[in-house]
C-alpha cells in the first residue's frame, strides 16, 4: 500500500519537535495594530471596502461580544488568549489581486508546494490545463488566487472570497449571512462576526450539480494573527455541491487562535457535502505552541428533502473545540456526520456534532471514530434532539474510541432529547485498545511498528475514510500515520 509506505517515509523525516510544516514565508504583511476595539472593526471593514450594512453588522456583533464570556464547558484546559494581544488583520502587501498566475509571488507557490498540496491542485495553481479541482487559496486572510472561475461561472456557480461576494453579490450575502450561525451564537462565533477577515463564498443555482469539487486551503502564516475565516455555502433548490477544506499551519511558539464560522444552507432537494482535513500544528511534546481551533460549523437543511453531510478528519491543533451540526428543518431532510479525530502528544480534542430534528421524517447518522495516543484527551460530545413536531425522527449514532498506550483518555458525552414520542434514536459506543497481539501479528508479517499502527488505525477508521472524496483519501491515510508517529514503543 503506497500510502503506508509514504507515511513511513514521512515519519522518518520528522520528529515530534520538528513539525513538517514548521516554516514561514517572508512575504511582507500589512497588519492592523494589535488589539481589539471598535476602530479595529472599522479598519477591517474599510480595508475590505465593505458596504455600510456589513460594518453595522460587525459593530453590532462586537457590542454583543463585549458582554459575553468564554465558554468553559468543554473538556479542555488551556491558557485563555489575551484578545488585546492579537492582531486581527493581516494581508499580503499587494492590495490588488494578481491578474494571472504569473503575477503570483513565486514564494507563495513554493509555500503551496511545501504544504504538500496535492499535485492536481498544484497543477491548477501552476495554470496547467485539464486539472479539475478549483482552488480558492486563502493565504493569511486574503484570497490571492481563484481559479476555474470561468468554468464554474458557465454553470452559474459562484465560488469566490467573501470579500468579493460582498462586492459582486451583496444581496446573496445579506440574505444568508448569519442565518445559520447568528452573529451572537456563541463567544467565538460572535468574535468572528465582528472581525472575520475572509473566507469562501459558494452559491449553487437551482438544479445545478456543481461540475467539480470545490476546495480551499487555509493557512495561518503570520505570527500572532488570529485567523477568523468565514465560509458561507448556499445550495439552491435541487442543487448539489461537494466542498473540500484542508489546512496546515507553520510552527509557532505561541498559541495561535483560529475561530472560524462555517454556514451551510441547503434549500429544497439540495445536497451539500462538506469535507475537512485539519492538520494544524499541535504543539511540541511538552504541549507548547500549537493552534487553538474554536470553530462553529453548522448546516441548515432549510428545504424539504435536503441533505447535509459533514466529514472531518481532525489530526492537528493543540486544542480543538468543534461541533459541525445539522439543523433538520425541512421535512424528510437528512444530516450526516462522519468524523475521525486523532489526538497524540498533549493534544486536547472536544468534538462532535448536533443533529437537531425539527421537520417531519428527518433522519441523521453519526459515525465518530476517536483515536487517542500519547498523553492526549479525546472527547466526543454530541447532541441529538427531536422537537415536538419532528414526527418519525430517526438517528443512528456510533461512537468508537481507540486507545494507544496507557496515558491517554477517551470520553463520550452523548446528549439525547426526544420531545416527540415517535422518534427513534439509536446510540452505540465502543472503546478498544490496539492489542499487543494485533501488533505482533502485523509485525510477524513484515510490518514495522509504525506501519502496523497506521494500518490498524486506518482499519478502525475505514468507515469514515471511505466517505471522503478521492482527493482526500490517500492524504488522510498518510496523515493518520504521521499523526501517530512515536505513539508506540
Amino acid at each position: 500500500m503506497a500510502a503506508v509506505k509514504e507515511t513511513i517515509e514521512h515519519v522518518k523525516e520528522i520528529d515530534v519537535d520538528k513539525y513538517k510544516y514548521g516554516f514561514s514565508t517572508d512575504i511582507e504583511m500589512v497588519k492592523a495594530p494589535k488589539g481589539l476595539n471598535e476602530d479595529i472593526v472599522r479598519f477591517i471593514s474599510e480595508k475590505k471596502g465593505e458596504p455600510e450594512w456589513m460594518l453595522e453588522w460587525r459593530l453590532d456583533a462586537f457590542e454583543r461580544w463585549k458582554t459575553m464570556s468564554e465558554p468553559d464547558w468543554a473538556k479542555v484546559s488551556y491558557k485563555k488568549p489575551d484578545f488585546q494581544d492579537l492582531y486581527y488583520y493581516a494581508a499580503p502587501k499587494s492590495t490588488e489581486g494578481p491578474k494571472s498566475l504569473d503575477e503570483v509571488d513565486p514564494e507563495l507557490l513554493e509555500t503551496y508546494a511545501k504544504l504538500g498540496i496535492p499535485l492536481k491542485e498544484q497543477e491548477v495553481l501552476a495554470g496547467v490545463e485539464g486539472a479539475r479541482v478549483a482552488v480558492d487559496a486563502v493565504f493569511d486572510s486574503v484570497s490571492v488566487v481563484t481559479t476555474f472561475k470561468k468554468e464554474l461561472a458557465e454553470a452559474g456557480v459562484i465560488f469566490c472570497s467573501i470579500s468579493e461576494a460582498l462586492k459582486e453579490h451583496p444581496e446573496l450575502v445579506k440574505k444568508y449571512l448569519g442565518t445559520v450561525v447568528p452573529k451572537s451564537d456563541n463567544f467565538y462565533a460572535t468574535l468572528n462576526s465582528a472581525v472575520f477577515s475572509d473566507g469562501s463564498f459558494v452559491y449553487i443555482p437551482p438544479g445545478v450539480r456543481c461540475p467539480m469539487e470545490l476546495s480551499t486551503y487555509f493557512r495561518i502564516n503570520e505570527m500572532n494573527t488570529g485567523q477568523f475565516e468565514r465560509t458561507l455555502v448556499i445550495a439552491d433548490k435541487g442543487s448539489y455541491v461537494s466542498y473540500l477544506e484542508g489546512c496546515t499551519a507553520p510552527m509557532r511558539d505561541e498559541n495561535q487562535l483560529h475561530a472560524a464560522v462555517v454556514e451551510l444552507v441547503a434549500l429544497e432537494d439540495a445536497e451539500i457535502k462538506y469535507s475537512t482535513v485539519q492538520n494544524w500544528y499541535p504543539g511540541n511534546k511538552e504541549g507548547k505552541g500549537g493552534v487553538y481551533n474554536f470553530v462553529t460549523k453548522r448546516g441548515d437543511c432549510r428545504g424539504d428533502n435536503s441533505k447535509i453531510s459533514w466529514t472531518q478528519v481532525e489530526t492537528g491543533s493543540a486544542v480543538t473545540w468543534k461541533y459541525p451540526s445539522c439543523i433538520l428543518r425541512g421535512d424528510n431532510s437528512q444530516g450526516e456526520f462522519y468524523s475521525i479525530a486523532i489526538s497524540n502528544g498533549m493534544q486536547q480534542v472536544d468534538s462532535g456534532t448536533k443533529m437537531v430534528h425539527l421537520g417531519k421524517n428527518t433522519s441523521s447518522r453519526i459515525i465518530s471514530k476517536g483515536i487517542s495516543a500519547g498523553k492526549s484527551s479525546n472527547t466526543y460530545r454530541g447532541l441529538v434532539s427531536a422537537h415536538k413536531k419532528a414526527s418519525n425522527a430517526r438517528n443512528f449514532t456510533q461512537c468508537d474510541s481507540l486507545l494507544i498506550g496507557d496515558q491517554c483518555s477517551a470520553h463520550t458525552v452523548p446528549y439525547i432529547e426526544a420531545k416527540n414520542s415517535s422518534a427513534t434514536f439509536e446510540h452505540e459506543a465502543t472503546t478498544s485498545k490496539i492489542s499487543d497481539d494485533q501488533m505482533f501479528y502485523a509485525q510477524a508479517r513484515g510490518l514495522n511498528e509504525e506501519e502496523a499502527v497506521a494500518l490498524i488505525v486506518n482499519g478502525f477508521a475505514r468507515e469514515v475514510i471511505q466517505k471522503l472524496p478521492m482527493e482526500f483519501m490517500a492524504e488522510t491515510q498518510k496523515l493518520i500515520g504521521i499523526s501517530l508517529e512515536g505513539s508506540v514503543g
Binding site: M1, A444, R462
Partner: protein, 249 residues
C-alpha cells in the same frame, strides 16, 4: 538452516524452555510433538520474536546469524515465517490490503522493488486460487468472521506470498476438518523445497500423514526428550504422551 542452541526462556520468572537444542537443515521438514504445556508454542513465538519472553541463555541462529536482537519484522525480511495457531483479527483492514502491505514491506526490506497493484493482485489471486480462497474472502476484514479452516488457509496463503526460508507452523491442524486439513497440507507441501526449512508443531500425528516429516522431535517440560524419524509419530499415536508427563485423559 535453523540452529537453536541451549535455549532457555522464562515468562514472568517461570521457566518454560529449559535448554532446547535443535537443527533444521535446508530442505528438511521437522515435526515437534508433545503434550500440552510442554513449550511448543513458546518455542515458535520466541523464534518469531514475540515480546514478553525472556531469553536467559542460549541462542537462535538463522543461516548462521543470531536473530535474537532482531525485531519481528526484520526476522520476516530475513526469511522467518510463523503461521499462527490462532490468527488475529484486524477489523476494517481488508485481507487484500493487509497482504499487499505485508508483501511490499517485506520486498522493500529485502531490497526488491515494490510490486505495482495489478501485478500484486495477479500474484495474490493466483496463489489464493491454489488454496481455494475465494476472491470474496480477500475483501473482508482480516480474519474477521473467518471459520477455523478459512483462517488457516489464509495463514498458508500469506506464507506462500512472503516466500520464507523458514516456515514454522504452530498447530496448523487444530480446528480443521479432514477436507480443510487436506487443502492446507497440500498448500504446505507445495512449499517444500531444497532451499526451505520447515518446523511443524503439532499435538496430533494426523497432520503428519499429510505433511510427512524428515524428523520428529518430542518435547516435554521445556526440553526435547526424544528424536526419531516419522515412525516416532506413529508410536506416539499408539502410546500417547503418558510417558512424557501428560495424563492419559
Amino acid at each position: 538452516m535453523l540452529e537453536i542452541k541451549n535455549l532457555h526462556v522464562e515468562v514472568e520468572g517461570q521457566k518454560i524452555l529449559k535448554g532446547i537444542d535443535l537443527q533444521v537443515p535446508k530442505g528438511e521438514v521437522h515435526a515437534i510433538m508433545g503434550p500440552n504445556g510442554s513449550g511448543k508454542s513458546t518455542l515458535s513465538y520466541v523464534v518469531a520474536g514475540k515480546d514478553d519472553y525472556e531469553i536467559t541463555e542460549g541462542d537462535i541462529l538463522w543461516n548462521g546469524e543470531s536473530i535474537l536482537e532482531m525485531d519481528p519484522d526484520e526476522r520476516v525480511a530475513s526469511g522467518v515465517f510463523l503461521a499462527f495457531q490462532y490468527p488475529i483479527e484486524i477489523p476494517g483492514v481488508a485481507t487484500m490490503t493487509f497482504m499487499r502491505t505485508a508483501i511490499n514491506a517485506v520486498r522493500k526490506a529485502r531490497g526488491q522493488d515494490e510490486l505495482a497493484i495489478p501485478d500484486m493482485m495477479k500474484l495474490i489471486q493466483g496463489k489464493a486460487k491454489d488454496l481455494a480462497v475465494k476472491p470474496d474472502m480477500l475483501k473482508r476484514g482480516l480474519n474477521v468472521g473467518f471459520s477455523g479452516g478459512e483462517k488457516k488457509r489464509m495463514e498458508i496463503l500469506q506464507m506462500a506470498l512472503l516466500e520464507p526460508g523458514l516456515c514454522i507452523l504452530d498447530e496448523t491442524d487444530s480446528g480443521l476438518d479432514i477436507d480443510a486439513l487436506r487443502v492446507v497440507s497440500e498448500g504446505v507441501n507445495a512449499l517444500r523445497g531444497a532451499e526451505r526449512s520447515m518446523l511443524v508443531i503439532t499435538h496430533y500425528q494426523r497432520l503428519l500423514d499429510y505433511i510427512v516429516p524428515d524428523k520428529v522431535h518430542v518435547m516435554s517440560d521445556g526440553r526435547i526428550v526424544k528424536t526419531g524419524d516419522k515412525e516416532l509419530a506413529l508410536e506416539l499415536e499408539a502410546s500417547g504422551y503418558a510417558e512424557y508427563g501428560e495424563d492419559a485423559a
